[in-house]
Symmetry: C2
Subunit: 321 residues, 2 copies
């Protein structure tokens, strides 16, 4: 299954975490590196918060909060209740257990550690064997210009102010990646992409999860150079995103919210696109865009389904198990 070489998974949060949980079932986790988006990161209450890194860590550790889809199991909310007493910022929920992660990350960065180093420490503390690699140790922030009414028309906000505070319920005019142009790939990232046996583009939001990873100078070119070994998984199934605003964002930014729209976005990057059985009828149109279409069940409702999709992605062909 893709030999014994490295597997790199270009990752956002929830969708990527599920994809990775499938992949580590079918290959040695030592071979797997998640190359993770940091455009969703934020500073709040003085803390450094990296939602995509943490969602992957908690999911792979089996500790993701099943009720919320983010944060940790067995969570309590005493700190946030206290912040609310003061009238502080409470729209971004931080459970007490989860806070410990942000306290640790913030302290280590203040001591001079890079985000890559702290992330490796956090992943090790959870006993995980895969690597989580933030795409850059530099500051990169996904900024969203809203297309709403009144004061919100043309207002630029951070990703989390769009996604969490406004519950991605406002139309979007444009997206940019603040800091990307001057960011450097984290140490080893370009080498890793160059030598990987397989590069997977996870079924994450192409606009606000995958694109900020590719926006770091050198990363898009490094993926394009490996196009033959790149397999993308469509985050759009039958015209909809399973979760989040990917479908609306695609349309608002002039793309098509179908596997065909995804095919057009990813054609320069990936030789293969995995699409769901629900979209089997569109396989020929996908191939007309210059990618090989592989049709497979892609809704990872169970660990078994995630493992099945992982086999498809790593073999580059439909699962025969």
């Amino acid at each position: 299954m893709a030999g014994s070489s490295d597997i790199v998974v270009v990752s956002g949060g929830v969708g990527a975490a599920r994809m990775l949980s499938g992949i580590v079932q079918v290959v040695d986790p030592d071979r797997v590196t998640a190359l993770v988006n940091v455009g969703d990161d934020l500073e709040l209450h003085g803390l450094r918060i990296s939602p995509d890194l943490d969602t992957i860590t908690y999911t792979l550790a089996g500790e993701i909060n099943p009720e919320t889809g983010w944060g940790l199991r067995g969570e309590s909310w005493q700190a946030m209740d206290s912040v609310k007493r003061y009238g502080g910022i409470s729209w971004f929920g931080l459970g007490d257990r989860d806070l410990g992660t942000h306290l640790y990350r913030t302290q280590r960065v203040a001591e001079g550690a890079t985000l890559s180093e702290v992330t490796a420490e956090i992943v090790a503390a959870w006993g995980l064997d895969l690597r989580l690699q933030p795409v850059t140790d530099d500051r990169l922030r996904t900024m969203v210009t809203l297309d709403g009414e009144g004061d919100e028309a043309g207002l630029e906000v951070s990703f989390q102010e769009y996604f969490v505070q406004r519950q991605h319920g406002v139309p979007v005019r444009s997206v940019r990646f603040d800091g990307a142009a001057s960011a450097s790939p984290a140490p080893g990232v370009l080498d890793l992409l160059g030598r990987a046996g397989r590069i997977v583009i996870a079924p994450s939001n192409p606009i606000v999860s995958i694109d900020p990873v590719l926006a770091v100078p050198g990363v898009r070119a490094a993926v394009e150079a490996r196009r033959d070994d790149v397999v993308a998984v469509s985050p759009i199934i039958a015209g909809s995103a399973l979760k989040g605003p990917a479908d609306r964002l695609l349309v608002e930014l002039g793309h098509e919210a179908t596997v065909l729209g995804i095919a057009r976005l990813y054609a320069p990057l990936a030789a293969t696109l995995v699409i769901d059985e629900a979209d089997a009828a569109l396989a020929d149109l996908v191939e007309a865009e210059g990618l090989r279409a592989v049709v497979a069940p892609s809704v990872m409702k169970t660990p078994e389904l995630a493992a099945g999709l992982a086999r498809v992605v790593l073999d580059g062909r439909e699962d025969e198990a």
Copy 2:
């Protein structure tokens, strides 16, 4: 009782909090300002922590943790347990409820609020009517040079590294107040000292709680100028501190750990020194140092005893109730 004018209480943490809880029982809390030490403050996990301010707030709100003497009642420790999982810094205990205070303070300061402003917001949120005034909005840190063995001989550490991390179990060679020389009194502090009807020096540690307040340029002179209206309460009773290392610190730094040692330190500042009944025999010697000695029960074990001591301090004479 000292007319209807302002009462300023030069304050450290625990001892001052008890003194203040007595004072607000016997005068309108609107008249009372605690002028609070910030030399104990620290930055940890990226958070701004002000232990003396918080100890006073939580005590006056009736929410101080009775088991620890610091932090909040009904506390949980999920965030710290999480920090420990990562091998992070855990010697400074931060309960989940307490963390909310530090999150709020840190966010507000990052937004541009001064420590004075945030403190007023926190005090108001707890429904308190007295004022808490940090002596300065600038950075001032009590630094302690240890006199221990081996690596610790001559090592300079922050106050909390001495007090909490080493549980004040190491001899001290010297103390300095980093940043004091370039700090400014917070807005209104010098005016307040100038117009107060009574200035109280709380029974806090003279070396590491009272002295850093006085070290802010202008503050010591402002208190000295009001010497006739200044009443100090001895933190030393029968040669010992009720709590903390004040007695050992006094000796280590060349003072006498008795009410007489306190009298010599406070003679330039205060016309009156309240000493405990246990030290009644030393009253004449105290007066020989140039202060009036007032003998009164000064161990504030109950709210009634705290109120009794407050009456003495504000009247400047022994309680006759």
